[in-house]
Symmetry: C2
Subunit: 145 residues, 2 copies
Amino acid sequence: MKEPEFTSSLELVRWIGWAQKKSGEDWIRARELSHEQAFVLGYLVDNPGSIQRDIAAVSRTSAASVSSLLQGLERRDLVERRTEDGDERRKRVYATPAGAELISGFEDAMAATDDAILAPLDGDERATLLALLKKITAELPQPRR
Amino acid sequence: MKEPEFTSSLELVRWIGWAQKKSGEDWIRARELSHEQAFVLGYLVDNPGSIQRDIAAVSRTSAASVSSLLQGLERRDLVERRTEDGDERRKRVYATPAGAELISGFEDAMAATDDAILAPLDGDERATLLALLKKITAELPQPRR
DNA sequence: ACCTAACTGTTAGATATCAAACTGTCAACA
DNA sequence: TGTTGACAGTTTGATATCTAACAGTTAGGT
């Protein structure tokens, strides 16, 4: 019973997701960030001025989680929030220079870990996998709430 | 920027993992359990007397998490922990009758949601997907710590 | 103008997770 | 028999997540 059978694809999917989260951990922990904080900070560098609602959608979480996550980043002056355009509901979020500097190289590090995880597959197999996953996710619910 | 490109298989993998977690949520919430509590309780019905270390390995988490998770289940008398075999280190964990009753049908419900997620794929495609995922996970680190 | 509904973000309370430090127990070995 | 190291579990303090309830803002309809 120490060797489970793994007949379920979705069990393997969850395992891979876990491994991906783990694999960049050294890089992230060296900067005293959580995985989620790093992801959002990286996203903000590429998409400055995003509103929290969109950040929640992209990071597949809730507005409430984004709110508290950004509080942590704002406390360390890694991001800045302000309202613009005369719309007092939306808060535009920006990475500060310190935040951008801290996260630089994150995407490269993540791409490297992705490559490491997919290493057992050759080019054709990766293409097949991507096609199958797209077929599944096309039918999947979006985390909009 | 509202239509992300998704060139990364691993991004899709994480999305599917998220959807799987969400999909059984109604069933689980009706019983006032968390996803993780339900998983562990179900595991204990099939593997009575497991020790916490093994539960951590199977649920791909840490001994500390299992410790606090089981405290929640024990508070509601859904599981019971006791030492046996004269080994005072290991704590054998059992689902109580109430716990077993509460979780009955869980595995069927989970299997149904798995089927719903994989619905876009036919039998051959599912077999291909499973083979590719096994190839990846064969090289993946185990969450042992 | 006003009312209402939708939208955006926050808070509160619960659970999960992790790392690190700690306690207690067992076993091997001198 | 005593010491030492490995093992199992807990605690602590931080962050993330969820739901539900809440507050302020905007826009639409009458």
